[in-house]
Structure formats: C-alpha cells, structure tokens
C-alpha cells in the first residue's frame, strides 16, 4: 500500500494512500466530530460537522469524503474551525425541540454529545422551528420528524443495507423532512418494522412504540396472571443498558429482575426455540422427501416475513409454516400452560421481552391468534425492560440471579444460539441430522455458517445425501440470496434469513450504542454472538430434541411433530400483501 506524507495540526504523519482524511485521522487517534458519517453506509457529506481546514482550499473540506494526498496540510482544531463546527451544530439545534428532559434519548443522544463537544453556551441564531406531526401509526416504530437532524442515515440504511427503501427525503430547504413516500403513515408503507432506523438514528427521531405505560396497569392487576418470556438476544445485550461491556450474559439477573417487577412466571423463549426446531426440522425432512417446496426458508424473523409478503410473494410456498418461537410460546401458554395451572386463557397477560421491534407488529397479526386471543398480548423491547428495571430501582448488576420457571423454562444450546445469524440453521441441522440418520452429529459447531459475512453457505452430508444450506442476515443480503435462488432453485436445500444485520442480536430493540461506540458496530455484534455461543458451549444439552421438557410437551399435549394439534397451534400461513407504492415483480422493468 502506497504511503503519503500529511500533516495534521502541524505534526507530520505517514499514512496509507487511498483513504479519506477521516479514516486516516481515526487510525492516528484523532476523532473528528461527525454526525452523518457511518462506516457501513455510503458517504453522504451532509452534516458538515466533520469539516476540517486543508491548506490551499478556500472552503472547508468534509473529512469523511475528501481523500488524503501527499503533502496535504490539515487543521482539525483551530479557533476558526472550532467556531465553524460550533455554529453548524447550533444551526441544527436551533431547528430541534428543546425538550431533552422529556426525551427518550436524554443522556444517550448523539446530538447532545456534539453540543457538549463543541462547547455551546449561547444561542445566536434562534428563529422559527419546523413543525411536523408525529407518526404513531405503526405498532413498532414511532417517527418524529421534529427531532430529525437530516443526517440521512436512516434513508441510506433502509435502502443500501436493508433494500426496503421505505424512507426518503421530501420537500426542500427549511421544510426538508425524511418520510415514507407521500408522507403516508408508516403502517401503510413498505416498512418491515425491523427497527434498524431506530438503531442508527442519532436522536429520538425514530423510537420504538413504547408499551410500558400499557403494561403497568396490568402488572398491578391482581386478578391476572402475568407471564413473561425472554428472547435469547435480550440476555446477551441487556447489560449494555446498565453500562456493562458488550458480551456479558445477564440471563439469571434478567429472570430475577422480571420476577421483582411482578411477573408470576418467567419463561424462556429458547424453550420454544427448541420446539420450533422440532417442528421445522421435521418439516424440512418431509420436504426433502418431496412433500413440499425446496429450498425451505425459515420464518422466525417478523421483519423478514413482512418483506416476503410484500416483495417476494413468489417464494411464499418455500417459507416454513412454523410460527416464530415467540408466537409458539404464546400459543403454548394460552393452551397447554393455561390448562396446566387451571386458569382461563383470558386471565393470562402474556408479555414477550424481545430484542425486536418487528415482533410488536407480529404480535398484532390476526393469523397468529389462538382461540380468539392474541398469542402474545404485548412485546417489550430490551430498551423498554431495561428502563422498567431502572425505574423500579432494581440493582440489576448486583442482584442474585434466578432460574426460569418450569415447564417452559429449560432450553438446549441449540435454542440459545437462535439469537445470532446462522444459529437457527445450526440448531435445525443438529436435530435434522440426527432425526434423519439416527446418529449423533459430532461436529456440532458448524463454523461455516457462523460470523458476520452477509451471505454464508455451508453443507452437511446426511447418509450420503449432500444438503446445501445458506444463511443471510439483513434484508439486502436476503434479497441477493433470493435472486440466486430464483436463478437456480436447486442450489440450496435450506435457507435461514434474519432481517437484521447480525441476526436478532442486532435487532431494533437492543440497547443504544454507548458514547464510545457506533450503532451496528461489528465488534459489539461479535461479542453479543460470542455470549450466546458461550452459553451453548456450557450447556450439557445442546440439541433441541434432547430437551426433556420438549419431549414431555409432545408426550402430554402435542403428540408428535407436525401432528394435527401441532399444526393447529404451532403453524400458520402467509399471504401476499400489496402496500402502497409497490410495483409487483411481474410488472417491474429490469
């Protein structure tokens, strides 16, 4: 790599050629303040916060976009550039509501951080502020254009990474805003509710729909049985909301905290993940014998399901009919468990603590109702439960851990790794192999499909039959993988798709990035994944079909996988949907 000589703030350095000023400065330990820049997204150059002075250029230069060259002299901290940066941040703040104290992101807002860094003490340019209505239509994501700083991260992420294109800039000048096409309500747009916009937004322009205020009255209602289920990814990330480093598992503390909040029973979604594997592996083996379409595609990601219904209706028959673990758990609670504790299903409040915003959309789906009641009454994200714990004064970090309740609390290692990309596939293969061949799978950790590469492929040989699998995370990668499938339907037998980059551990409900980190940070995702893999390694039971509670539920209630009862309670069907503005694939000009 060719090197070039530059000076930053009058000190000479030698850096690699072919990078931007910001990249070179980051490597040298100069963190130039920035707002719209994100390493995973295309360069926007919109905020102008990262400006620096380059000798010989009359105007300031955006360091995120301008490449280094030999002999370049850069100033990042002169009085002039400091004042310019301060003025630019003030201009953004002057068109931003002044309600930090009542804002969701008070204390974890990038704009607050920038205001603090630039040392703003007086306002010079205050004037009119924009005024837009909040969009409360979606069950998952709330959009508040008044707090938007027009960094464009959400637009770029939704188009470049997720390939959904639900958001775009509209209008001009002072009236510019980010919105779905024609400012239609979010719920009517193609938004898949994946919530990545919430993750990547520097302010509270996107937040999840908060259900905590609805939950509190139910928690204090003594006539109801409050049941919580906890997703795998929650335990891997909830510690970050309490200042702990990413990757520290807080499973037992979460259970204890939920009990202290007033839940009567705390179950583990990893249990129903095992149940999902039983159903899904059996379904896969059936299809392998010709009784269904291949490749089979997993369906536990709710954002992915909305995406399929909107954009890929031609592949609906490939989708597994299994419900997601959350909905399976909800269904089991309303039927099997209600019977067990001799309560009527209406007396149960079924709450799911999830890392995911799309699950809020899923919980409201009419097809997933069980006997006239929603399977899950409400979904609370990791952020919401962390706040509830803090608000109740529970010392989360130090409390004594507790275990999940029986009979829906025991899980295998396969159920644990559901939270990370490749985990569902690995869990399914562990069981499918043994159901098919009758032998134990020795190489239980399938490394080929682990990791953060966008599309991963692997294969496994079952009794001489080669099974080719593929895993994609992020809806953009899913799109690419599906195009491959359309070109060659025989290429893969089994496909796992997770709507969020990194899998569920990167979901739209996970804690915000800390002040020393950035959203969608790969290191953070890797550590969360490693937390789950670590839990898997430490478990004695690592295969779903060996979970004794799962075996019991089949014996007592479901019969066997894919039985009529199982079909009624644990399976569903999906249909093509046409939200506004979608051009059907058949009519698209390519």
């Amino acid at each position: 790599m060719k090197k070039v000589k530059i000076t930053i703030n009058d000190k000479p350095y030698e850096v690699d050629d072919g990078q931007t000023i910001m990249q070179a400065a980051d490597k040298l330990g100069f963190h130039i303040p920035r707002l719209c820049y994100h390493p995973k997204l295309s360069i926007e150059g919109a905020c102008r916060v990262c400006i620096v002075q380059v000798e010989g250029m009359r105007n300031y230069v955006a360091s995120c976009a301008y490449p280094v060259s030999d002999g370049m002299k850069i100033q990042t901290n002169t009085e002039e550039i400091r004042q310019a940066r301060r003025d630019i941040v003030e201009l953004i703040l002057d068109n931003h509501p002044e309600d930090c104290h009542t804002c969701e992101r008070d204390g974890i807002c990038e704009l607050q951080r920038l205001a603090h860094l630039t040392g703003m003490r007086h306002r010079h340019f205050e004037g009119e502020k924009k005024h837009y209505d909040k969009d409360l239509s979606s069950p998952s994501v709330v959009r508040d254009p008044n707090k938007c700083v027009l960094c464009g991260r959400c637009v770029r992420l939704c188009s470049e990474v997720q390939n959904v294109h639900a958001l775009g800039h509209a209008h001009r000048g002072f009236r510019t805003a980010v919105m779905p096409a024609y400012n239609m309500p979010f719920s009517e747009s193609v938004c898949t509710a994946c919530g990545q916009c919430i993750n990547v937004c520097p302010t509270a322009a996107f937040v999840e729909k908060n259900f905590t205020q609805e939950l509190y009255p139910k928690m204090s209602d003594k006539s109801l049985i409050k049941i919580a289920q906890v997703a795998p990814s929650v335990r891997a990330a909830i510690g970050e909301a309490f200042g702990l480093e990413p990757g520290r598992t807080m499973e037992l503390q979460t259970v204890a905290a939920l009990r202290r909040l007033g839940f009567d029973y705390v179950f583990d979604t990893q249990f129903s993940a095992d149940l999902t594997i039983m159903e899904e592996a059996s379904e896969f083996l059936e299809r392998l014998q010709g009784k269904g379409k291949l490749p089979m595609i997993t369906s536990c990601s709710s954002a992915w399901m909305k995406c399929v219904e909107q954009f890929h209706p031609d592949l609906l028959e490939n989708i597994s009919t299994c419900k997601s673990p959350m909905s399976m758990m909800g269904a089991i609670i309303r039927t099997y468990f209600a019977e067990k504790i001799k309560k009527r299903p209406e007396e149960i409040v079924s709450v799911a603590v999830m890392c995911c915003t799309a699950k809020k959309y899923e919980a409201a789906r009419p097809e997933l109702m069980v006997n006239g009641l929603p399977a899950v009454d409400m979904v609370i994200t990791t952020r919401e439960i962390a706040w509830m714990i803090k608000s109740a004064g529970i010392d989360f970090v130090n409390i004594k851990g507790e275990h999940f309740d029986e009979p829906l609390g025991l899980s295998s290692g396969a159920g644990t790794i559901f939270g990370t990309t490749g985990g569902v596939m690995e869990a399914a293969l562990r069981t499918a192999y043994e159901l098919y061949t009758g032998e134990t799978l020795m190489d239980i950790e399938i490394q080929d499909i682990r990791g953060l590469k966008g599309i991963k492929v692997g294969k496994i040989v079952m009794d001489g039959k080669e099974i080719r699998v593929a895993v994609a995370h992020g809806l953009g990668n899913a799109s690419k993988l599906l195009d491959e499938v359309r070109r060659d339907p025989e290429k893969y037998h089994f496909i796992e798709i997770m709507g969020c980059p990194g899998g569920c551990i990167g979901g739209g409900g996970q804690p915000y990035a800390g002040s020393n980190s950035i959203p969608l940070d790969e290191e953070c995702l890797k550590k969360r994944a490693e937390a789950l893999y670590g839990l898997d390694r430490n478990k004695t039971i690592r295969r779903s079909h060996q979970n004794p509670d799962v075996q019991r539920i089949y014996k007592e209630f479901l019969g066997r996988p894919l039985s009529a009862t199982a079909h009624r309670i644990l399976h569903t069907h999906y249909q093509a949907k046409k939200p506004c503005g979608i051009i059907p694939r058949e009519l698209q000009v390519r």
Binding site: I43, E44, G45, A46, C47, R48, V49, I51, R58, N59, Y60, A62, C64, A65, Y66, P67, A84, D87, I88, L91, I92, D94, N95, H124, F125, G127, E128, V149, L150, G152, G168, H169, H171, R172, G173, F174, R175, T176
Partner: protein, 596 residues
C-alpha cells in the same frame, strides 16, 4: 429618407492603437464634401475580432470588409465604393468568420456595435426550426471537419489552446475537463448539456436554444467524439416549452440528415442525444444534483471528489458543460483556437452572453468580449439609466452573485476580476439598480430565492440561509438589532465555506457584497430605522405637504384614524398612530403626501 450605406469602423483597442479614430473624422469630412452626409451612416463598433488586419472598416450592404485602412484611403473608398458602387479591391479582405454574420444583416449597430456575437451568431438571423438555414450558415461543418481531419486528441488540444472556460458560472477550463474525461477508460461514457438555467431572470441559455438549437447539438457531437462518448443528455428545465419543442425538432431533423445516430456522415462515430426535463428545482442545475436527477434519484448534490469526469451519470465518466460552452465549440473548431484566444483577457478568453435588465434604457441579451468594462456595458450598450436617475449598483451572477457599486464600474469583465471585486460572473445575469433601489431589500430578495431552493441536504445551507433571511426580514421591518450585521457576516462566511455545493457556497454572496459595498444602508435600517431608497414600507414615514387642498381622501382611507383635518385645509398625520401602510399615499391625487 433612410440611409443607403452604413460604414462601420472598428473601435476595438488594437484598431484604436492603429489610429482608427482619424478614420471617423476623415470619413465625415469626405462625406460632407460630397454632400452624402444624409445618405451614409457612420457606426463605431467594438472589437470585430480581425485585429491583425486592422484598422477595420465594413461597408454595408454587401458586407465589404476593408483592412489596414488609413485616413488617406478614405477618399478613394468613398468615391469608388459609395458613389460608383465599385469596391476597392486592393483594400478589401476576405473573412468568412461565423461570428461576423450579424454585421451583414443587423441594422441597429448602436446596440450591437460593441458586441461580438459568437454564441448568438445565428440568433435573430436564421429560422431556428429550419436545418436548411443552419446548414446554409456553415452548420455541421465543424463536426464534419472534426470527423474528417482530426483525432479526438487533436480536438481536445484545440479546445485547450483556445482557453475556453465553462460558461455555467464556475469558469473551469473546458479543455482540461475534456482531457480528464477522455483519459478515463470505461465501456461507456456520457456527455451532458446543462440547460437547467435556474437563475431567476436569466434567459441566455433559453435564447440560445430557441434561436439556434443546432449549435448546441453540433457542439455536443464534437464533445462526444473528443471524449469517446456515444450518448448525450440535454437536461432542460420543463419551464421552457418552446425551447424543448425546438430542440426536439432539431434533434429529429439532425437524425434525418445523418448528423446524429449511427455512423455519422459515414464515419465510425455514432452519437445520440436524449432530452430530459427538469421539474422546477434550482439545485438541479448543480452538476452532481443534475446527474442524480437523470438517474432517477432525488436531485441532491454529493461531495466531490469523485468528479463527474471520473464517476458521473450511471457511475460512468461524464462530460457535463453548459449550453453556452457547447455553442462556442463549432466556432472554436472552424475559426480556430488561435483566433478565439485573441479575444478576451489573458485568463478569460472569448465572449460572454449577459442578460441586461433592471433600471436601464436598453434591456436585452448581449454578448460581449471579455475585458469590456462594466461602464461600457451600462452606458454604451445599455444606453444608461432612464429618467435621469443615478446609478447605484450592478448585480451580476444572479442569486449567487454580488452587487458592485460605482467604484467598480471600470472593472474589466472576466472571471477573476469579478471574483476579486466581490461578485461572480455566474451564468450571465446583469441587473442594473438605481438610487430608488434598497440594497437591503435586494439582498433579501435574492436570499429568499436561494433559501427556498436549497435542497436541504446540508445543515449550513438549509438552516443557515433561513436564519440569515429571518435577520434580513427583521431589518426590513424595522426590527433590526445592534449585532445583526455581525451575525449576518458570521453566518454568511460560515455558509460560504462549509456548504456542500455551489448553491450554498454562493447563497450569502448578495448579502455579503451589499454589506461590504453598502454597509451604511444597513446601518441606517437598523439604527435609524430608515430606508433611504424609500422601499421598505415599514420604515417609511409619511407627511402631508403644503400641496394638500383638504380633499379628505386620505383621511377616509386611513385604517387607524391617524389623519386629522377639516375640509379645504391642510391635513396632518399623527405619527404615533401611523402604521405606515401607505394607503393615504395611494389615495392622494395631488401628490401632497411625501414619503420620508
């Protein structure tokens, strides 16, 4: 009795140096002796571009050009040519420059005398909807010459040598841009003509396209050949329906005759042009925003590098130039770079089209060689300020430009001198302002436009222009505060230096240049709450003078009852009740109400 002949003497610097002044006197004398003063008109024109053969004299009709004329030759010319209708062959020279055609045809040399029409060479002379007309004036000969005798690199060398600079406003050397695009290797390259022309009141590009669309098409073909492109786009604003119609016809006619399409005129070069319409956004005149618009995205600029010559439309190397630049190309090819660079100043070659407007007697579209003074444009070509008003300022460059006060009138027009004076050349808008113009209001007017048209991507432009506009509006409403000027300057400099694209970088120019050249007006508005041009209505005082006959018309219309007085005697306005609405001023039929 109209004149039978007109004699035009070149008054350009080189001919003056060669004593052309004496010619005028000699001709007048000679005509008087022959009693022909009524029958022959003498005109003085600006540089005719034939400096090497000067002093130049043209006799019309017949367009006979005499070169190297001295005072001693005058008698012979008058006797032989004017009286006996026999041109003097020893002095006559043959020049078939494209640009001099208008001298054959145009009658009113007073307006056109100091102009040198290169881009507008055919405007007003040919029928723009007839390709026959264009062919008859050596149309498509430049393209043919290029395809027959020149390699692409030869074409680029010629354009480089000519010193042509981009006429869209930035003034980037055209030859260099062509060179940078040509040297990229790619399977596809594109050529774009920027006909968006968003400056309010600017119509140079419109006139060029409505008057001579083929010149643009020919220029683009030459450009495509030079850089290796096979496809061109003309991005024209939808608010120009007639220009679009004429362009569509011109493209169809050119295709019919084989000047566009596959294997042009039998050569290996194929080129096609597609028209794309704008949709009302000023920012889409910025090159990267224009490119995004053609691609189907929102018209927002992006940071450069990479420049369009490396990564342009559809991510391919793209050559994008303004209409005027393209229209210059056939002349550069046919009349040669040597001749082209003899016109203009050292760093700005050729001519520039300006739209002269405002408080001036002769408004219109003019094309003058670079280096002409502003004074010459306003007083010689423009005819001066009407109604005996005093000149106050010249606004150049549209909403991106600045206001130049009287002390700059002797500035010679070129890219660098205008920039040094605090304005810009821009695309060619030139608005003359007289003493009845309020400079604060003018700055507000232009800022309203740029604030409205800001694309909204970057914070300094989107938010900053709005805040500057709020301050200016307050000042014109009489609510100016002491540190407003400081705030305007601080914001203005920030927006200039921190914005992403040219729109933001030049939006504060009207404000900053008026602050520099007319600061006292701002101070009057803020401190004394006075508008000396009597434009800002909130700052006007109204008084009733002795002309008042007591008709009570004003008293009847006053909304606050501030006027008192009995019939037939002079009325009085109570200043404390007056809200400065101006209704009384409008109502008075005796001019008795004064604005102060």
């Amino acid at each position: 009795m109209s004149r039978k002949y007109s004699i035009t003497i070149c008054d350009g610097p080189t001919c003056l140096h060669k004593k052309s002044k004496e010619l005028g006197a000699a001709i007048e004398q000679c005509l008087k002796e022959h009693g022909l003063t009524d029958k022959v008109r003498i005109n003085l024109s600006g540089c005719l571009g034939m400096c090497a053969k000067g002093p130049i004299m043209i006799i019309n009709p017949g367009y006979t050009i005499y070169g190297g004329v001295t005072a001693g030759d005058v008698a012979e010319i008058i006797e032989k040519h004017i009286i006996k209708n026999k041109p003097v062959s020893r002095l006559a020279i043959e020049e078939d420059h494209l640009y001099n055609r208008f001298f054959r045809v145009f009658g009113d040399v007073n307006f056109f005398g100091k102009q040198l029409r290169i881009v507008l060479r055919n405007c007003g002379i040919i029928d723009p909807e007839s390709i026959d007309d264009y062919l008859s004036v050596r149309g498509y000969e430049a393209l043919a010459r290029v395809l027959t005798e020149m390699k692409p690199s030869d074409v680029i060398d010629e354009v480089k040598k000519a010193g042509l600079r981009g006429r869209g406003g930035a003034g980037f050397p055209t030859g260099t841009k062509w060179f940078l695009t040509a040297r990229e290797t790619s399977d596809e390259k594109f050529v774009i003509c920027n006909a968006d022309e968003g400056d309010p009141g600017a119509f140079m590009d419109r006139s060029t396209i409505e008057g001579d669309p083929h010149s643009v098409i020919e220029g683009m073909c030459v450009g495509g050949y030079a850089v290796g492109a096979k496809k061109g786009f003309i991005y024209i604003r939808a608010e120009y329906p007639l220009a679009i119609k004429r362009l569509e016809k011109a493209i169809a006619d050119a295709k019919n005759e084989g000047f566009l399409g596959d294997k042009i005129m039998g050569s290996d070069f194929s080129f096609d042009i597609e028209i794309r319409l704008g949709a009302g956004a000023f920012v889409c005149g910025e090159e990267t925003a224009l490119i995004h618009s053609i691609e189907g995205h929102r018209g927002m600029p992006r940071p450069r590098p990479p420049y369009p010559s490396v990564q342009g439309v559809f991510n391919k190397p793209t050559l994008i130039n303004n209409v005027e630049t393209w229209a210059n190309i056939p002349v550069v090819i046919l009349d040669g770079a040597e001749w082209f660079k003899s016109i203009g100043t050292e760093k700005s070659k050729g001519t520039k089209v300006f739209a002269l407007a405002g408080k001036i007697k002769n408004t219109g579209l003019i094309e003058v060689p670079m280096g002409i003074t502003l004074r010459s444009i306003i007083y010689d070509i423009g005819g001066g300020i009407p109604n005996n008003k005093k000149f106050k300022a010249l606004q150049t460059g549209g909403p991106s430009g600045g206001c130049l006060s009287e002390e700059y009138l002797d500035t010679k027009i070129d890219y660098d001198s205008l920039a040094q004076a605090g304005s810009i050349m821009g695309s060619g808008g030139m608005i003359v302002l007289d003493e009845d113009t309020c400079m604060v209001n003018i700055a507000k007017f232009f800022l309203e436009f740029t604030e409205n048209e800001s694309c909204g991507k970057c914070a300094p432009c989107r938010e900053g222009t709005k805040r500057m506009l709020e301050i200016l509006t307050r000042i014109t409403e009489g609510k100016g505060e002491d540190d407003d000027i400081k705030k305007l300057e601080r914001l203005g400099k920030l927006i200039q230096k921190a914005s992403l694209c040219g729109l933001g970088q030049s939006a504060p120019n009207p404000v900053l240049s008026t602050l520099k050249n007319f600061r006292s007006e701002y101070e009057e508005h803020i401190k004394e709450k006075k508008c000396r041009a009597k434009v800002c209505s909130a700052l006007l005082g109204y008084e009733i003078s002795e002309k008042c006959i007591g008709c009570t018309a004003c008293k009847k219309v006053c909304p606050t009852g501030a006027i008192s007085g009995i019939q037939k005697s002079r009325h009085v306005i109570d200043q404390s009740k007056c809200i400065r609405c101006g209704a009384c001023f409008e109502a008075c039929k005796f001019n008795a109400i004064k604005r102060t």
